[in-house]
């Protein structure tokens, strides 16, 4: 299992477009990827659940990656968050 934390810097937070991009990125891996904020968790492959978390600028999220390709997946996710969120 791999885990990292990230604080959102995008002024609008995880709104529809980045959520969509995140889902796409997450679906490229076999590992299960989850995003957690304040005890609420959503699979990174589920668009509406992600949007439903209402993640805003300044919120810190914990991303957990677990599975066969978790090393590559975690690295890719961390890069994705830094570049897009």
């Amino acid at each position: 299992m791999k885990q990292f934390q990230y604080t959102i810097t995008d002024p609008v937070g995880i709104h529809a477009r980045p959520a969509g991009l995140l889902v796409k990125a997450a679906k490229a891996f076999q590992s299960s990827i989850t995003v957690e904020k304040d005890g609420k968790t959503a699979a990174a492959t589920k668009l509406m659940a992600l949007m439903g978390m209402g993640i805003k600028q300044g919120n810190t999220v914990t991303v957990t990656v677990e599975g066969a390709d978790e090393k590559e997946a975690a690295a890719a996710m961390e890069k994705f968050f830094q570049e897009n969120l």
Partner: protein, 547 residues
């Protein structure tokens, strides 16, 4: 070709020519049977097929949108596609089909509403607005399942056909490619009619329109009050020539911009714009409005599934006030009820809605709702010149109660350190009662605005929504015009400025009369401002009255 021409007659709302494809307006609610006669497996299969079809539509929408509005704006159609792949959404739909033996339509509708409600309940206004996306996706599926697919060529100019449109439907309509309206029902005073006038768009009401005409080419001839379906090329050419002549005339009017609204003898009058949403403010400025004389705030309440918060309202008022850059903006407080309703208000059906629980009557009994709006209006006054106007007034007590609530709000906001400017207080004079006690009312306020539509309806006891009464409806009825005069005189006796914001304000046959009455301001649809200016500039009050 000639034999194919079908002409349908109607009543014209706005004289002009519109050319485009006819589009039948699909009512938002597709009423689906809830339980299915098919086996769940068959319903699941129907759902899967509809979903695949929707994906194809959305992909092509996305592609054409990228070319037209760019990748960022087109991304919404990609999001819609992803919603159709969302496992939670799909599981919920399938579960309704399996466990409740529901039809695919029903399952999609229920699931769409549940997800939309979840978004609507979120704190963030951006996320709240995503409820509309979920509904959009659900409607697309429902339309496909019902066999009533949206045509993909929605992007070319079109003439809208409908039974009639409700106020919330009209405000939600995408108007960029809209060239004309044709409705089956509706009187010349209906909301569709008012919208057509606001936008300066040719419209016919009372047309025996056939939904089967959907997608056919048509010419709407407002001058001759008829609609041609599948027009012959020669007719199409003749109409196109006429349309161009109109457009030239319109550009001539543009030459009147920046000229003062003053008669030949030097009498000046203010010409303001009526707007129905913040989106119209651009149109008001383009047409050289000197202010906003009537900002109908209802759209805020009708357009969202919840009562708009103070912050949401402030954001919109502020946008309008800042855009007008110091020019006066008269915000009319919530005028809901009667024919304008939102579900979440939980208003009961009434025998006589026009005489019922509406406007200030709702606001004075639901004070929290009212104060939220008043606070937003007061806060917006920090950004420009704001006036507040109360609708449907019949008594001095109502005005005092409303003013007291306004003062309460001002005290609270001052306590919180909110900056505010001076806010003029006025009332709509739109009931015979208000006219009869205009002297007493004028002592309470800074201005009167004559709402001539309702004033005529209540004075003449004629229901504006009933097309059968059109032959009896005479907005120039002497009783109505005397009401206007009485109110104007009473207002002036007590130092109020007096405006006319109803449809009569734009009636060029009455402009001279209003000027002679000393009316200070006329507030009209943005598209009526320049024709009115031309009329004013051609009048000479030194000559004997023209009637």
């Amino acid at each position: 070709m000639w034999t194919d021409v079908k002409a349908a007659a109607g009543k014209s709302i706005w004289d002009g020519i519109a050319i485009g494809r006819l589009r039948w307006f699909q009512k938002r609610e597709v009423q689906a049977r809830s339980t299915s006669g098919l086996a769940p497996e068959e319903e699941l299969e129907r759902f899967e097929q509809a979903r695949a079809r929707a994906q194809v539509q959305l992909r092509s929408l996305y592609e054409s949108a990228v070319g037209e509005v760019g990748e960022d704006n087109a991304a919404i159609f990609e999001i819609h596609q992803m919603m159709l792949e969302d496992e939670d959404f799909l599981d919920a739909v399938r579960s309704v089909i399996r466990t409740q033996r529901g039809t695919a339509e029903h399952a999609v509708q229920v699931t769409g509403e549940n997800f939309a409600a979840a978004f609507a309940a979120m704190e963030d206004t951006y996320m709240q607005a995503r409820a509309a996306d979920v509904r959009d996706v659900a409607h697309r599926l429902q339309a496909i399942l019902a066999g009533a697919e949206e045509k993909p060529d929605w992007d070319e100019p079109f003439i809208l056909m409908a039974d009639d449109l409700s106020p919330s439907e009209t405000v939600q309509l995408d108007k960029r490619k809209l060239r004309g309206f044709v409705t089956r029902g509706g009187s010349t005073n209906s909301h569709t009619a008012i919208l057509a006038r606001t936008m300066g768009i040719p419209a016919l009401v009372g047309v025996e329109a056939d939904p089967a005409w959907d997608g056919r080419m048509a010419v709407l001839d407002g001058y001759n009050q008829c609609l041609y379906v599948d027009p012959a090329p020669s007719l199409l050419t003749a109409m196109e020539v006429r349309r161009r002549a109109d457009a030239e005339q319109a550009s001539l009017l543009q030459g009147l911009k920046k000229k003062p609204n003053v008669t030949l003898d030097g009498t000046e009058i203010q010409v303001f714009a009526n707007i129905g949403s913040d989106a119209d403010v651009g149109l008001a400025l383009q047409n050289d409005a000197q202010g906003i004389g009537l900002f109908r705030s209802e759209f805020l309440y009708l357009n969202s599934g919840h009562s708009p918060t103070e912050e949401e309202q402030l954001a919109i008022y502020r946008r309008v006030v800042e855009t007008m850059a110091g020019k006066k903006v008269v915000i009319r407080t919530l005028d809901i009820g009667a024919d304008k309703k939102a579900d979440y208000f939980g208003l009961e059906r009434e025998e006589n809605p026009a005489l019922g629980y509406r406007a200030i009557r709702i606001c004075l009994t639901r004070k929290d709702l009212f104060k939220t709006q008043l606070r937003a209006i007061l806060r917006a006054s920090a950004y420009g010149t704001v006036a507040v106007m109360f609708p449907m007034i019949i008594s001095v007590r109502e005005v005092r109660d409303a003013k007291e609530l306004l003062e309460d709000c001002r005290r609270e906001l001052t306590g919180q350190g909110c900056p505010m400017g001076r806010v003029e207080v006025g009332i709509m004079v739109e009931t015979p009662a208000a006219v009869m006690i205009a002297d007493e009312l004028a002592r309470e306020v800074d201005f009167f605005s004559l709402g001539t539509n309702d004033l005529a309806q209540y004075t003449l006891a004629i229901d504006r929504q009933n097309p059968r009464l059109d032959p009896f409806y005479d907005p120039h009825h002497p009783a109505v015009l005397r009401m206007v005069r009485m109110a104007a005189e009473a207002g002036h006796r007590h130092g109020c400025w007096v405006g006319v914001c109803g449809e009569l304000g734009a009636d060029l046959a009455l402009t001279e009369l209003f000027l002679r009455m000393g009316v200070d301001e006329l507030s009209v649809s943005p598209s009526a401002i320049l024709p009115l200016r031309r009329r004013i500039r051609g009048l000479d009050l030194r000559l004997p009255p023209n009637s």
